[in-house]
């Protein structure tokens, strides 16, 4: 590779960095002020691109290409303001992360709405007039439009810096980013501030999308891929830091460009395909940055938020609850006989139970331990792959492999947990995501061992378990046992220590509790239980592929926990059952099932901001008049 080639590749990286920065800057601003983890940000980006396509298509002849293109920005800003004012504003006071659930529902709705409006085919826009060609640069042809993008990134950074430093509004935004309570004390009209920030952030996402019109087609998969990248950039840069986001976008884009430029490295008789690292390059960068700098490149340690929604002390189950648990268990255990005429019921029930156990394991670290994991599918996947590989490659009997599944997952959790517990909040969550993506990437690439993207087939249960009814009983025992075990741990000294560590790490350390070790073990336990779910899943399906540890599954688990209510012990079980069942039923009832599912989740979020079980519990307390009661 010649130096000029490297130089041009670095320029390519700059152009990508600018594109990335537009999306990430908006996300960072929104997070900084509202603390919302906005999954829908990528959907706004995607909408920006689609909208720009249509605007340019219809109006560029009348008002010119650029005005038509740029109009997409303000239109998206308006949409963002509406979403904030009509939807998100209603759930600010819900427990942490519930807003995330609302934005997840928005993703589903926007995706189907886009499909409905613009159709399924990719839409490639026209080239930018005047910038459609290339200029000669170091003996190569370099797109003129990329030069514009390269310039736009720093321009946006400058404008945002001016806005944040030189205006009253900017001062308020900065104050709110540093300390929400302080902003409240400043007498800010908080509602207005939130709406305006959300609108600005969304507008930037929309603009970012619109600016891609001359470079790539509008397609329906842009929402999730762009929001993933944007989150990585925001976290690597340091939450709420706009210059940090710029730096991170630069770093990640240049690393990718260099990976591509290096192609395949030859040495020591080996060929190392560096370009394939682009699969998970951003997550590798993020993992390295977070391990070295727990608050990102330019972030500050967050002022420890004492704003946590209050959780009531645990109450041991009374005779009523215990009796109803036994009744539910017995009812479930007799399901194969009750549903003899409808064998699909047991098939679906196996999936529901696996989902419930998986969600319970996520809740275990998310709720009581207060460690938000966005990559919980990694352990589910490690359990599934561990079991499958032991059967297929090591020739173990299926029963033994199933028992070993949680060990494989727990080992993974032990490795990641050691790094993760040193972080907190969203940084921790994103490190877990990075780990999951890296594990996913390895599984995806390692054809010879894990079957690569195709996965592994022939992972069927032993003969005596082949019957779905019997397998259901096995799953039920494992899921009930797992859930009961987790519950038991929560009532043990260790469970108390987990909650204590979440409530006050300072106090814990001052009474001799090693918080990091408690949290580490919590990771391992949660990972192990997720591994049981993964093993059960593998043998119930007969085949697995890398999507068992993909982001989608991690997000599903989050949704289940939040839907049921993160502050209740049975919430995740109920959330998992409702979500999986809804998905199964809704998917069969209409073509636009995603929008319907999103709509249902939105309604649930608005109706039950404490989660469904949280809502029930509060209702029961109201009736019994027990304001200080416990979490069941």
């Amino acid at each position: 590779m010649t130096p000029s080639a490297v130089l041009v590749q670095l320029l390519n990286g700059l152009a990508s960095a600018s594109s990335l920065f537009f999306v990430a800057a908006g996300l960072s601003l929104i997070f900084g002020v509202t603390r919302i983890i906005n999954f829908a940000h990528g959907s706004f980006y995607m909408l920006g691109l689609y909208l720009a396509y249509s605007l340019v298509d219809r109006f560029s002849a009348h008002i010119g290409f650029w005005p038509a293109l740029l109009l997409a920005g303000p239109m998206l800003g308006l949409l963002g303001a509406l979403v904030e004012a009509l939807l998100l504003r209603r759930v600010y006071h819900a427990p942490e992360l519930l807003q995330l659930l609302a934005t997840f529902a928005l993703v589903l709705v926007i995706k189907d709405a886009t499909l409905w409006c613009w159709g399924a085919e990719d839409l490639l826009g026209p080239r930018a007039p005047g910038l459609g060609g290339a200029i000669d640069l170091l003996g190569r042809r370099f797109p003129a439009y990329d030069l514009l993008l390269i310039a736009l990134g720093p321009v946006l950074l400058g404008l945002l810096t001016l806005l944040l430093r030189r205006t009253r509004w900017g001062t308020l935004v900065r104050a709110a980013t540093q300390d929400r309570e302080m902003a409240g004390a400043l007498g800010v009209n908080q509602a207005w501030l939130f709406t305006s920030v959300f609108a600005l952030g969304t507008m930037l996402a929309g603009l970012g999308g619109a600016l891609q019109l001359p470079r790539e087609p509008a397609s329906l998969s842009l929402d999730l891929s762009s929001v993933g990248d944007a989150f990585v950039v925001v976290v690597v840069g340091g939450l709420g830091s706009v210059p940090g986001a710029f730096l991170a976008a630069l770093l990640i884009s240049e690393v990718k460009a260099l990976c591509v430029a290096l192609g395949t490295l030859h040495g020591f008789g080996l060929a190392l395909p560096v370009s394939k690292l682009t699969l998970v390059a951003e997550f590798l960068v993020m993992a390295v940055v977070l391990v070295a700098r727990p608050w990102g490149l330019m972030g500050k340690a967050p002022s420890s938020s004492r704003h946590r929604a209050l959780e009531a002390p645990l109450q041991p189950s009374g005779p009523g609850l215990r009796a109803s648990a036994v009744v539910v268990f017995l009812l479930l255990a007799s399901l194969p006989w009750l549903s003899a005429g409808a064998p699909y019921v047991t098939v679906l029930a196996v999936d529901l139970l696996v989902a419930a156990l998986f969600a319970a394991s996520l809740h275990f670290i998310m709720g009581p331990a207060g460690l938000h994991s966005f990559g919980h599918a990694a352990y589910f996947g490690l359990g599934a792959y561990g079991a499958a590989l032991l059967v297929l490659k090591a020739g173990w009997p299926m029963e033994a492999a199933l028992v070993a599944a949680p060990l494989a997952a727990a080992l993974g959790a032990m490795l990641l947990g050691w790094f993760a517990v040193r972080l907190s909040g969203v940084y921790l969550a994103m490190l877990t995501l990075a780990f999951a993506q890296i594990v996913w990437g390895i599984t995806f690439q390692w054809d010879g061992f894990t079957g690569g993207s195709n996965g592994l087939t022939g992972v069927w249960p032993a003969a005596w378990l082949a019957d779905k009814q019997v397998y259901f009983l096995l799953t039920l025992s494992a899921a009930a046992g797992g859930a009961w075990g987790l519950r038991r741990v929560l009532f043990s000294p260790f469970g108390y220590a987990m909650r204590a560590g979440r409530d006050s790490a300072l106090r814990c350390e001052a009474i001799g509790i090693n918080v990091l070790r408690v949290q580490w073990l919590a990771f391992v336990i949660a990972g192990g239980v997720a591994g049981i779910a993964g093993g059960l899943f593998a043998f119930s399906k007969g085949s697995i592929s890398p999507d068992v540890m993909g982001v989608g599954r991690s997000v599903d688990a989050l949704v289940m926990v939040l839907l049921g209510g993160v502050q209740t012990l049975s919430g995740p079980l109920v959330g998992a059952v409702v979500f999986t069942w809804l998905q199964d039923t809704v998917a069969r009832s209409t073509d636009y099932w995603r929008a319907l599912l999103g709509g249902v989740i939105l309604l649930l979020v608005l109706a039950f901001p404490m989660g469904m079980v949280g809502f029930l519990r509060d209702a029961v307390w109201q009736l019994r008049g027990r304001p200080g009661g416990g979490a069941r």
Binding site: S504, E509, A510, G512
Partner: protein, 258 residues
Amino acid sequence: MTALLQVRGLQRRFGGNLAVDGIDFHIDQGELLAMIGPNGAGKSTTFNLLNGQLRADGGTAWLGGRDLIGLRPREIWKQGVGRTFQIAETFASLSVVENVQMALLSAAGRVFDLWRAARDFQREQALGLLRDVGMQGQAERPCSVLAYGDVKRLELAIALANRPRLLLMDEPTAGMASAERHELMVLTRRLVAERGMAVLFTEHSMDVVFAHADRVIVLARGRLIATGRPAEIREHPAVQEAYFGTGLSFEKRRGAPQ
């Protein structure tokens, strides 16, 4: 008689700011030592150095043959040092008695017990500690609904759980009414006597200090500027200057020559 705690040359800087600037002092067993000084004098920083939450830049703090400097908070706790925080740190989602039980569990080395229920662990002892601080009536309430003064008392009970030799109390009476403050200090005095421990506390209310401390040390801008019995400190010119210099005063300091 050798001192229980012997601090020498303790130092800590934040950037260019010497928050604690080479201070020396000691505490004897059975003593109630007050550390006073204006806001930002370095009191909490000293506490954080002694309990291991902050790393010292220099100095030693010998407690019965062991230097605390360089140890982690939980190791210092094992050495028999309990503490309360300026802003009380308790476990909001546990009940009052569970807060104390948590400390007892830790003292018994049972934190990593995953199976037996924690609920009944040394409940009587926990209730006893709560009785000691006058909180037995609220044992079953969620910690999150307590009045602030009660939270501070609960914190004291937690800190007492492993029978410390030395108790560090950072503004134990902040946020309390005057009568309540004296009550708490009387209680502290009784605990000191019963348990044969020593207490180092900071306090902004001079009333409390002069009424209850055996000895007083005064910090200003990270330096130890005076030490002595309350009566001596009251008349100490450097102390008066330090307080008047900041505009903050010995509140309710009656009879000062001025």
